[in-house]
């Protein structure tokens, strides 16, 4: 079912006129007739979970927002999408800006935010113009500004460009950066719901989360909650990349199997050049990498589905996470050591440098992985890596430390023999790939 991307194919849908002709802003009109509490209630009923990575129930988050008398509140949209492999928010903002702005208006109304912000990553240099145009169009038609459509609610939306730091996607770092300070994550508590932007109560939500609010209001929270399986409600955008015939952004139902997502022609269309699947990171670079045999089926032999619970089945040991939906596929020609090194370099580069385990540990892991990859590794390096990631995880201010530790942990856990092979065959490893070993795609081995 398509809730978000159903109109994406329409010519000119980016512009207000076309958008309105196709039923645009009806959800906002409906929302403005409700009370803010009713909207929060609908979102709660829908069971929508945050699409930014952590999957925290949005309605619950909204109900935590402190409402002290006389203090303004703010909605901040996290459009800093910088997680390697994730590019779904970009698609929404670039091609369906009005869907997103609708969500911003409804959410601002529900939360009582008269001034809302969109914090967008600096590298999306052309998108703020698209958003600002959509905001101007909405304002010209009375959907923003003073006393929106006679409801008595005032709202302005501002777009703020980031300076190009992954860490500014972390909600408190984002808030600091929005305030014009250095993007260092804050130490929690206090949480943004109590003290966020300008020390006022703030809700930070992902672009996709906010864009989904419109369809929820249109169809009703209960109807939305009936879609999906378990605690994964509605639909989800996946950005698929890597060794796939048809990489791109797809809207999926939560009962879709991973196998179908990779191989069916409706979605990614299989792996190019007849290669076999080796491993996959299903939720953006921060979630654990899993080998093919654990990706398609869990340890109990059940088919894995593309949803929060099914992918996480098995915990960190044999499972992974849906995360932000950045689906990265590695075929049999890819080297897990090199891949892990690349991720370690990323986290080393993006650490804000506040807390010592992350600042020093990420760099250390990168250097060791570089040694292993370039034929200078030692046997004890693998255990050392394990020890370093173990001491970073959970001991840092913000989850970037965990995000840096998990990929390394998972790579060692599942692909230890590949690391060992690199160390034992330093010269061969420079020219040849380790291949598939025992963790190959079980479906294709059978054939």
């Amino acid at each position: 079912m398509k809730l978000l991307l159903d109109k994406a194919h329409i010519e000119g849908i980016r512009y207000y006129d076309t958008w309105v002709k196709n039923g645009g802003y009806e959800s906002v009109a409906k929302a403005l007739k409700m009370t803010p509490e009713e909207i929060v209630e609908e979102v709660k009923k829908s069971g929508l979970r945050g699409r930014g990575g952590a999957g925290f129930p949005t309605g619950l988050k909204w109900s935590f927002l402190a409402k002290p008398e006389g203090v303004p509140r703010h909605l901040v949209c996290n459009a800093d999408e910088s997680e390697p492999g994730t590019f779904k928010d970009r698609y929404l903002m670039e091609f369906l800006p009005h869907l997103f702005i609708e969500g911003m208006i409804i959410s601002s109304f529900a939360l009582g935010s008269n001034v809302s912000y969109i914090y967008i990553r600096g590298e999306y240099a052309w998108i703020p113009d698209i958003l600002e145009q959509a905001i101007a169009e909405a304002k010209a038609n009375g959907w923003l500004g003073k006393n929106i459509k006679g409801s008595g609610f005032d709202c302005e939306i501002y777009v703020q460009r980031g300076g190009g730091a992954y860490i500014c996607g972390e909600e408190t770092a984002l808030i600091e950066s929005l305030e014009g300070k250095r993007g260092n994550p804050r130490i929690k508590p206090p949480f943004p719901a109590v003290q966020g932007v300008w020390m006022r109560p703030t809700v930070v939500n992902n672009v996709e989360t906010i864009a989904t609010v419109g369809p929820i209001i249109s169809m009703g929270g209960e109807a939305y909650g009936n879609l999906g399986v378990g605690n994964s409600k509605g639909t989800k955008l996946m950005s698929a990349c890597g060794n796939l015939n048809k990489p791109g952004v797809y809207e999926i139902d939560f009962d879709l199997s991973v196998e179908e997502f990779i191989y069916s022609d409706e979605y990614c269309g299989g792996i190019p050049n007849g290669k076999r699947l080796k491993a996959c990171i299903p939720g953006g670079s921060s979630v654990p990498i899993v080998p093919a045999n654990l990706l398609l089926k869990n340890v109990k032999g059940e088919t894995r589905l593309m949803n929060y619970e099914s992918l996480a089945d098995g915990g960190l040991a044999t499972g992974t996470m849906l995360g932000s939906g950045g689906f990265i596929v590695l075929d049999e020609d890819q080297c897990v050591v090199r891949h892990t090194m690349t991720l370690a370099r990323f986290y080393n580069h993006e650490s804000c440098g506040q807390c010592s385990p992350c600042r020093e540990g990420t760099g250390w892991m990168y250097k060791i992985l570089k040694n292993i990859e370039y034929g200078k590794g030692k046997k004890e390096d693998i255990d050392l890596l394990w020890d370093i990631q173990r001491r970073i995880e959970g001991n840092t201010i913000c989850p970037l430390g965990d995000a840096a530790a998990w990929p390394v942990a998972a790579a060692i856990r599942h692909f230890r023999d590949e690391f060992e092979w690199h160390i034992d065959h330093p010269e061969e490893a420079q020219t040849r790939n380790f291949g598939l070993a025992h963790y190959a795609d079980p479906l294709l081995i059978q054939n």
Binding site: S356, P357, R391, N395
Partner: protein
Amino acid sequence: MSDNIKVTIDNITVEVPNGTTILEAARMVGGDVAPITMCYYSKLKGSGGKCRTCLVEVSKGSEKDPRPMPKLVASCRTGVMDGMEVKSMTSERVKDAREGVTEFLLLNHPLDCPVCDQAGECHLQDLSYEQGKQGTRTDFTRRTFAPEDLGPYIQLHMNRCIMCFRCVYTAEQLTEQREHGVLDRGDHARISTCISKALEHDFIGNVIDVCPVGALTDKTFRFKNRVWFTKPVDAHRNCTNPKCCGEVRLWMRGKEVFRVTARKDEWGEVATASNGETGWICNECRFEKKDTADWIIEGPSRIQRTSVIAQGHYAGTVGTAGKSEKLIDKVIGKEPIYTLDIHKVSEVDNPNVHLSQIAGPAHSTDFKHDIKDR
């Protein structure tokens, strides 16, 4: 008192006012129960939470919600709850995590203690001694930074910095305009004035005192002597700067004043002055008044248990005293490293005994002797 709540740290229960952090509560218990802090500074607003050396395990959240906290928490930024139970030195997890943090902090540290002015009063040295391991697991080239000139008074050795942000908060909170900050990010984040500028504000010298390592040192003292070869003497003067308390510590050898610093308390922080405010001192007192005639001498300073100056200033192994006895009894199965309060066993604090009469490396007659011999 209804405001007070009970918290148990390493099996020792203390009553503290509501809103106290775990760290402050642990400091009330004292001894090794109080974690070493590399970034927290009770006198600086917003400090703490960064270095992670003060991690503790909360084995019971509170009386109301007894669930343990899943992660170790930074005690300096976590408030206590009524009935909370905390493990600091009695937890293996904490020990392991702190050992890890120590290793991380030393990873890119130049370890140039032999030429570092901070040696002897460096918190990183103390931390490595108490919580580090022997040996190293890295043979990578250490990260280095280009030298930066901060003007005539303050020397910045960025290679030694541990990014505690204390100096940034000090500049923010003590001076009218912030003069320096952090540039760049990750392991290349550095303290800088951006476009090489001198730090000139008349209170900026206090960054030297808050810096836990030798990253910010006093240029007027640089390479002139070692901390443990000078003797600390408390003194004061009638400083004309209204914000300056004028109460200082002179570091002397013979009649010569080598260095002037603020007075430090038990936790290595600038102590509260007699006017009840934090004893920050102005640049004039710190850098310009290097003559005993400028000062009214009060007498030998109290020396911290971790100070190298304390080493050798007390004879033999002395039995446990007072508070420490209680610690050993209570901290089951663990041998605290420092169980004795050296003030109870050493003569250094006895105003009737001149420091130079106490046996040990740190008194002036030794050095006079040395020089004569040469």
